[in-house]
Subunit: 143 residues, 2 copies
Amino acid sequence: MEDKYAGLKLGNQLCFPLYACSREIVKKYKPYLDELDLTYTQYITMLVLWEHGQINVKELGECLYLDSGTLTPLLKKLETKGWVTRQRAKEDERVLIVTLTEKGKKLRDQAAEVPAKMSCCVKLTPEESRTLYTLLYKMLGDA
Amino acid sequence: MEDKYAGLKLGNQLCFPLYACSREIVKKYKPYLDELDLTYTQYITMLVLWEHGQINVKELGECLYLDSGTLTPLLKKLETKGWVTRQRAKEDERVLIVTLTEKGKKLRDQAAEVPAKMSCCVKLTPEESRTLYTLLYKMLGDA
DNA sequence: TAAAACAAAATTGCACGCAATACAATTGCC
DNA sequence: GGCAATTGTATTGCGTGCAATTTTGTTTTA
């Protein structure tokens, strides 16, 4: 006798632990990011900027899977805090270029400790972490 | 020569693909859930109710890793739509019991097709899905 | 038993996410 | 050149998430 509702059980969902895990981990970042006056979304935005120094909103959105509705107000906050500047590209006025300031670059040194602190919170073996990483990017790649 | 900032690369974060994947999958649910007039969070709430019929806010929050700040307004919306009722427990007036209505129970039949529709979107093999599921719950368990 | 401690929801305030829309600049096409 | 289609951001509105606080009800304890 099949349960026609089996697919609707919370325990049979793949999406739910993904959703719950994501929020739980972000929550664990909070105390460390609070020290830097960064939210999680602002943090991953800064990660991109620390790597690239300069990037426009469209490319940033592609990196982070976020759109201008999320990024525009967020980038204005980062600008207010003095970590980035926002200016239009001369060759195409539609494009907004986000650039790290000196102050923003310095923040990187404080942030450098965050990943090590976080790694203690994740109770997976290095191999499990790699497997998880690979599977997640496989899903994302097909998204 | 080590890169002291290697840990800060977006590509070296385990959290980021988790966060991005979660949002991408929820986005894929949207067209199917729109047909049912449900958001994703409302959907997983209904999953719990379809399984249990009745549950209080605290227990619901433990199931979903959500607190009353999120659940209270959400449950009021489900009540407005006529899918659940909200009433205080007689033995302890602090406890609010959420109960499925007949209309709410009927919604389950429409929702029954959602998991099958979604499974087409996930490009992982059954084995990969199981591995991912196990790893995510391992992380959640230690959370 | 009255006050203190505790517990469950609700409220408040802030920061996303994201769909939908608006707007301005650029490109393509005739 | 001129106009339509396209592109890149910004804006708006709604629904979360969550920390912090408040409210209401219950239990513990002096």
